[in-house]
Amino acid sequence: MSTILEVKNLNITYKNKKKNVYAVKDVSFTINKGDSLGLVGESGSGKSTLATALLRLHPKHSTVITGKANFMGKDLISISEKELLDLRWNELAVVFQKSMNSLSPVHRIGEQIEDIYRVHKPKATKKEISDRASYLMSLVNLSNRVYNLYPHELSGGMLQRVSIAISLLHNPKLLILDEATTALDVVTQGQILDEILKMEKEMDMTRIMITHDMSVVSSSCNKVAIMYAGELMEVGCVEDIIPNPKHPYTQGLLSSFPSLKGEKKELRGIPGYLPDLSIKHEGCIFATRCKDVMDICRKIKPVKKIVDNKQEVSCHLYGGDD
């Protein structure tokens, strides 16, 4: 099991003249080759911030990032700009939500693909690029004629597929999909997830899926990491966590999804509000909304512990206090 990405004690803080926003606090996790990690959280969880930081896409003057993110022997947080440029898209690629907005509306898809391809392989011929593009488009069920169309001639689903194909141009070792299917219809989402799974097998790819939708994670990921207000609550395998969530936040989150079939269980949410991320909180950050909160939760931050030899949980219910 070789490790592709090891994140250690990652902290991301947005600073401006008025205040600091602690978007990601002390996050550590490991991804092995071939894994598909679902990074789950709601708004304010820090999941997108984390992904953007791995590619160092945050503005330098207002974001403070500490910690390490070891990707194939290089620390993404501290390597030079030049080394980073080498890695970006070559070994590490991202597909964002509503990627259709990142395509230039006045250029054909083919031209844009050529442009992007030549960033890393400046001498590539048109044929080489279009062959590669054809192959990738077939993987995502797009016909070749898309190559010569303009973005406005394609539907949302097709554009998202184009974005996925583009992200794979240089056969990256790690692909990050940030809410890539959220804006799409159920059927299109289902199709694209299937295509991604098929692709993964064929290209031996490792993947991070960032989403708020647990059903996407359970149908297409093998590992899941649950984030809340910038901190990791629970990390482990999908087959362990989803039937048996240990952290109260995970439990609350799972019970917020109504089931399609089977008996109608009462739909419960999680009462309360997200805490102010510009304040450093004492104790567990979920304490104010936790149904199982104890006194110790408000005073001491729980430490990560492995429960039942399966998942890692940061919660005092599982002895997070030593």
Partner: protein, 329 residues
């Protein structure tokens, strides 16, 4: 329609012309049939879920029912009374009767006014409450009863200072202050965090029950729609292809499109692997569809006769009907 029908949607159509003006002279008139001849009845206090993908017309239907757009044909009867006539004779009464909750809580309020001013407006327009002080009390009580406390603090804030969940609650309240009898909820929780949705949904249902109002719940989230609706209508390219009890439609879908839709819903249970029914391409724009069944070009059950004429509604048991000739005995 039986006597229990409170809301009678009759032959509602919303067609948009393609190429209007001088350009279209001489060319065959093309129409985008966003909503095409929808007839459906809703009982008092019932929740009707409307599902379908983008382009099916469910949002257009919602807008037409609340008359943000006027339908090209058809009428909606509420308790036997024509809303077309009601709008002509007493516009404000119609506005009290039918209300809508929008998808985007962050944009549902003018950024320039405080919550107090925003909630005062509907009360003033419809002369609810004897004086401004009286109205103030009404607002305060409504906010407190919905968990928005302290009410005075919330009332003095501007929309950008509140969270999505709070804003959507206020949006629901704003509509409910008018005591409507017919509520359209257009994807009311799709822009909110998952953990906040249950609260909003239960508030919507609770207040609707208090008013004994009927609800049309438009959503692309099928699991959620099944959870809160009594009946479900499945739309495709402007038409209803299947209608029935929500449990029946979800567990035993009859129309091929419904089957495709449901099989593509991923479930949270990782052990529940659905056999995804695949379908070619994506739904076309509803420009002059037909003459046969609109779904036939993509349907895995289609036979030749499906392309000839649009199928009738085949009635199955318990009011469940499906627009598919394959069920014609």
């Amino acid at each position: 329609m039986d006597n229990n029908t409170y809301i009678d949607i009759k032959n509602i159509s919303m067609w948009y012309p393609v190429n209007s003006g001088l350009k279209s002279i001489g060319k065959e008139k093309k129409w985008i049939k966003a909503v095409d001849d929808i007839t459906i009845g809703i009982e008092r206090g019932e929740v009707l879920g409307v599902i379908g993908e983008s382009g099916c017309g469910k949002s257009t239907l919602g807008r037409v029912l609340v008359r943000l757009e006027n339908p090209t044909s058809g009428d909606v009867l509420i308790d036997g009374q024509s809303t077309k006539n009601l709008i002509k004779n007493d516009y404000k009464a119609f506005r009290r009767l039918v209300q809508i909750v929008f998808q985007n809580p962050y944009d549902s309020f003018t950024p320039r006014d405080t919550i107090e001013k925003i909630l005062m407006r509907p009360l003033r327009i419809h002369d609810i409450g004897k004086s401004d002080a009286d109205r103030n009390t009404i607002i305060k009580e409504a906010l407190e009863a919905s968990g928005l406390r302290p009410a005075e603090d919330i009332m003095s804030r501007y929309p950008h200072q509140l969270s999505g969940g709070q804003l959507q609650r206020i949006s629901i309240l704003r509509s409910m202050l008018l005591e409507p009898k017919f509520i359209i909820a257009d994807e009311p929780v799709s822009m909110l965090d998952v953990s906040v949705r249950a609260d909003i949904i239960s508030m919507l249902l609770r207040l609707s029950k208090e008013n004994n109002a009927s609800v049309v719940f438009i959503s692309h989230d099928i699991s959620l729609t099944r959870y809160i609706s009594n009946k479900i209508a499945v739309m495709y390219l402007g038409k209803i292809v299947e209608y029935g009890d929500s449990e029946v439609v979800v567990n035993e879908p009859k129309h091929p499109y419904t089957q495709v839709l449901l099989s593509n819903c991923a479930s949270i249970d990782p052990n529940e692997r659905m056999n995804k029914l695949s379908v070619e391409g994506e739904p076309p724009t509803p420009i002059n569809p037909g003459p046969g069944c609109y779904f036939a070009p993509r349907c895995f059950k289609a036979v030749e006769q499906c392309f000839n004429k649009y199928p009738d509604n085949i009635v199955l048991e318990n009011g469940h009907y499906v627009a598919c000739d394959r069920y014609n005995k």
